[in-house]
């Protein structure tokens, strides 16, 4: 297996992109803006002490989740890291249940039991939201195993960060996926830093090239161009769906914020690096400019989309604020299926030990 190499000079003209309607293109922009405004609003709420724990902002990486998830069909599935807000919005989760989850409210997507790092929506084929670096990759491989076992034509997208590529569970998953020809695309969202350690200081060699050691196809692309992400992912998702051929795709992206809210981001990179990226490669700004140049978007429409995204995020914060907390009684719900379904319980005996 080898590196794939069919990237178009103009990614807008790639087969998967060339027939996109104006509405579809605007929808990509809208989703990216909604991710950004949701996260900016949630960061404000965090600063206002409305949100606890860790929160890892996706800001700067929006084109990756939107590009990838825009390709999902009925039997395609996604699973990701703790930096999961972008994927959650990209698969169609609403802002209300996400913001309420951040606030720790009972109306949250996990009823206030998961928090920022643990968003799930199995009805949208989104399986989290996982806190341990690389720990979700065997699960994503298992989603692909289940698809193949059940004879369903689909693919699993297992997202990981550049810091996860050195975890054993990731390598074990690569081996199983290739050995058993599982329909999975491992998507490395390389934002340059595993927490505060740059790629150069943490990982030997090219990240996606490691796939070659497992006899898998691999490739890399720019992650600030939603068209480029769609082009490369369409190719690899098709390999998975049609031929059960797994692959590794490295999407080179960048995050503007620190690793999490607890990272002041003043030790391992220069502010000017972030500013340079923001000015020249911001995925939302570049896509917006491109659509305006293409004639599929007006400045006015862009402004309307942005205002709506801000308003939606504000409304989500109000919804979260007004929502009830879970109760102490709720602590022991959703632990065991059997306890939550007492009429179907088969086991006996004591299951909680307070």
């Amino acid at each position: 297996m080898s590196k794939t190499s069919t990237k178009s000079a103009d990614t807008a003209k790639a087969a998967i992109n060339k027939d996109l309607s104006k509405e579809e293109k605007q929808e990509f922009l809208r989703t990216m803006m909604r991710i950004r405004r949701f996260e900016e609003r949630s960061l404000r709420a965090y600063q206002g002490k409305k949100i606890g724990g860790f929160m890892h902002a996706y800001i700067g990486q929006e084109a990756v989740a939107v590009g990838c998830c825009s390709l999902m069909g009925e039997n395609d599935h996604a699973i990701t890291t703790y930096r999961d807000h972008g994927h959650a919005i990209a698969v169609g989760m609403g802002m209300n249940e996400q913001m309420a989850e951040l606030y720790g409210k009972a109306t949250g997507c996990s009823k206030g039991k998961g928090g920022s790092m643990h968003f799930f929506a199995p009805d949208l084929n989104f399986w989290g939201g996982h806190g341990i670096v690389g720990g979700q990759i065997p699960l994503g491989t298992g989603l692909a195993y289940a698809l193949k076992y059940k004879g369903l034509k689909g693919a699993s997208m297992a997202f990981l960060g550049d810091g996860a590529v050195n975890q054993g569970a990731v390598h074990e998953s690569y081996n199983l996926a290739s050995l058993w020809k599982l329909p999975v695309v491992f998507v490395i969202e390389n934002n340059g830093y595993s927490m505060g350690t740059s790629q150069a200081r943490s990982s030997a060699g090219e990240l996606s090239q490691r796939a070659a050691g497992y006899d898998m196809t691999w490739d890399a692309c720019d992650g600030h161009d939603v068209y480029a992400v769609r082009e490369i992912m369409d190719k690899h998702l098709t390999l998975a769906r049609e031929k059960c051929e797994p692959s590794v795709v490295e999407v080179r992206t960048y995050r503007y914020r620190g690793h999490s809210v607890s990272d002041p981001d003043n030790t391992y990179r220069r502010k000017s690096d972030i500013e340079d990226y923001r000015k020249t490669k911001d995925p939302i700004q570049t896509f917006q400019r491109r659509l305006i140049e293409e004639g599929t978007l007006t400045e006015e429409e862009a402004s309307t989309i942005d205002k709506a995204a801000r308003a939606e995020a504000d409304a989500a914060a109000e919804f979260a604020e007004a929502s009830p907390w879970p109760t102490v009684e709720d602590i022991q719900k959703d632990v065991y299926w059997e306890v939550d379904n007492p009429s179907e319980r088969k086991s006996t005996g004591r299951i909680f030990f307070n």
């Binding site: 039991k113 643990h118 491989t141 081996n175 632990v335 004591r350």
Partner: protein, 325 residues
Amino acid sequence: MPEISYREAVRHALAEEIENDENVVILGEEVGEFNGSYKVTEGLLEKYGPKRIVDTPISEAGFIGMGVGASMLGVRPIMELMFWSFYSVAFDQILNNAANVRYMSGGLINCPIVIRGPANGGTNVGATHSHTPENVLANHPGVKVVVPSTAYDAKGLLKSAIRDNDPVMFLENTLLYGVKGEVPEDEYLIPLGQADVKREGTDLTIVTYGRCVLHSLEVAETLEKEHEISAEVVDLRSIRPLDIDTVLTSVAKTHRVLIVEEQKPFCSVATQVAYMIQSEAFDELDAPIKRLSTIDAPAIYSPPIEIEQLPNPKRILAAALEVMA
């Protein structure tokens, strides 16, 4: 009723559930072509084919995590650990992912997986291969933990475990695989969380599980014949859920308790059970509860001394007589 070995009982449960549900698949190291490291899965590959019986690489974190992921989409994997001792390399997958995914998703995701294999000492394989992690596993809400002692229990409990919608950790014992017991030919299930009084008595309750049940039954006979002490042996069978009521009923009858476990004593299963007895039946006790555990050190290799490190009939008898003194 036919007598079959514990090993065959486990195999029959696996085979019946494979036939019962097309989503049941067995994965593990050497479960197929090799016929099972302990021959538990012998013949299953030939009978059910490679889709249902899957040989994995030596890659516990990978394949167990893969099974957890597959279970989220409705496959019902039974994962064999060659030794439960190897759970440590898959700890994150078992006790972060399988145990927590239902909770962290607010009840949206189920994980109907069984992880099974032997967990015992006494085979001179040293500390790395002799872990008995039932206490560690049961410390994690979200998982169920089962430790059968007989062929009959192993079959009935495993079938229930496979049909369970929660992740079930099923701990067998290499020293029990060859032990025969009566197992009916007709299908039966034993619910998880139901203890079994393996021997009735009036003077002393021995609470135990796993292979220690066999030792305790032997000791109960000695107590009867040589010391005129009538011991009741309660086999917990399931650690979580735990049938504490059967234990308390026995304590109310005998008023004296010895708990025997193949566990290191610190925060062990016996420690938990002893806490619950004193908390809920304090007035029934005529003597302090005694706990007999593995001698508190990593498993020693030296064959004759390892026997002394584990609970054995001699140590159990001495402990029982202390409780009765």
